[in-house]
Every structure is written in structure tokens, then in C-alpha cells.
Amino acid sequence: MDICRRKGVIEISDLDPFLAELLRQIPASANPDGVLAAEQRIFTSPTNGQETELCAEWKTYVEPELRRLFQSATETVTGDLEQLNGNEKSFANRRLRIPAKHSDAWLSALNQARLVIAAKNRFTENELNDHFRSPIGSRRDLSLFQVNFYGFLQEFILRELES
């Protein structure tokens, strides 16, 4: 897989079908699916347990806005990912072009997905920091790989934004 920036576009080329599939899963992975731990991580309390009135107002007025914000980001990413739904041979490598102006939406969607996956799997800090973990052998390993892969993309986008 190669990743570079060209004329206002972040281009991921030579993308093998496995990684392309992981990218396709970003919008679905960003959805808490009603899992309480994931929902609570995405919509966290604005206070440390006190200020119950503020918490109630937050749920009524702020949470719906945040929900719209997150949904808008995943919709943008879903649109960009349609490039991977072509008629190429299923095992051929793919190319994905992300307009630079969609960078913020990608950062948000990747972050949502990483947080939701981590919350659903209850990954520990040690697991998340173990970058030399053995190859994928279980669904849990795959999920951890997904979190790290999305993190790598986030790092690249952040570096591009800085430059």
C-alpha cells in the first residue's frame, strides 16, 4: 500500500483487498450499534458526575448536535469509499482518492471507529500500545489491527494537514 498527497488529494494506491475491506468497514465500525460501552464513549458526560442539571440539558440539546456532526463525517467518508465499489476483479489492488477538504471528516470517522471498536472489545491500554502483537489469529486480534490501521491513516492525514 502506498499513500501520498497529490494536488489536493490524499491518494492511497496499491491497496490490497484486505485493507480495502477494512476501509470499507469504517462507517459500520463507527456505529456504536446500541452497545452501551461504545455509546457512552462517543457521548460522554460533560461533568465529573456533579452538575446533574447540566448533564440533562446536554442530553437534550448538545447530544443531538454531536450525533449530526458525527453522522455527517461518516456520510462524507461513505461517499469517498464508493470508489472501492467498482467492477474491478475482486482480488485486484485498488486505489482510493480522498479530497484534502474531506480530511476533517476522515479524521472524525476514523476516530469514531477506533473508539467504538476499542470500547466494544474493551481493549486495555497495554493491548493498544502493543505494536508488536502476533499476527491476526482471532476476531479480537483483527479488531486491534483495525484500530492500529485506522490510527496509521489518521497519523498520515494529520501530517498532511500540518504541512
Binding site: 460533560p46 454531536l66 476516530n111 476499542a118 500500545n129 489518521q154 500540518e162
Partner: protein, 126 residues
């Protein structure tokens, strides 16, 4: 008791009361009256008296350090060095106070930070 030719203000008020003359009709009659000064009281909202509130960001093992730094720069307008200092404080100490001040802007900052999916709370300073 007569007022005589030199009418003082108490006397003028008495005449106005008897004759039902309002200040506006008085103006038309050619005399000058001054309106009572309005004394404005300086008020302070509850929030202003209720200082200070803190915006606190808590550690999260998932969010990338570079991402958190970028968010601090964007939300608070901090230079990179200051944003990094706060990010490292969150990373090492579990939390960092990013901002102090009135409750309303503090809430807005927390809302923005939640928009970037950081763990942020508003807390009253001890």
C-alpha cells in the same frame, strides 16, 4: 398660601398636580422641566460571580497524541508547544486543565472537545 411671582420647584409641582399638567404639556407651554435621571444598576450574572470554571481533558488510550495536540491548537488557539505540553500532561498525569473562566464559554469549549471525541469535562475550581 400663594406662590407669588417666583415659583420654586415645590410650588410648580403643586400647581401641576392641581392642574393635571404633564411634563409634555408643560413643554408645550414653554417651560422647561428636566426628567428624573435614570439610575442604572450594574448587575452581574450568576455565572460572573461563580468563578472560576475549568475545562479539564482526561486521558484516553485510544486518541492519538498528535491528534490531541491538533485539537488543543484548534479549539483553544494554543501554539504547538503549549498544546503539546497539555497533551503530555494529560498523557502522564491523566488530566490537564486547559482553560479557566466563565461557565458559559467553558461549556462551549467542552462541547467542541466532545465534537473531536476527546474526554473533556467542565469542573468548578476547588
Amino acid at each position: 398660601m400663594s406662590c407669588g411671582p417666583w415659583r420654586d420647584s415645590a410650588c410648580l409641582a403643586q400647581i401641576q398636580e392641581i392642574e393635571g399638567i404633564t411634563p409634555s404639556s408643560n413643554e408645550k407651554a414653554g417651560t422647561v422641566t428636566t426628567a428624573e435621571p435614570t439610575i442604572e444598576k450594574e448587575t452581574r450574572s450568576e455565572d460572573e460571580l461563580d468563578l472560576p470554571w475549568q475545562v479539564v481533558v482526561h486521558n484516553d488510550p485510544v486518541n492519538l497524541m498528535s491528534y490531541v495536540t491538533m485539537v488543543f491548537q484548534r479549539v483553544f488557539g494554543y501554539p504547538r508547544e503549549k498544546a503539546e505540553r497539555h497533551m503530555l500532561e494529560v498523557h502522564h498525569n491523566g488530566r490537564s486543565i486547559l482553560w479557566n473562566g466563565l461557565r458559559e464559554p467553558a461549556e462551549l469549549y467542552v462541547q467542541q472537545l466532545h465534537g473531536y471525541l476527546l474526554l473533556a469535562t467542565i469542573e468548578k475550581a476547588a
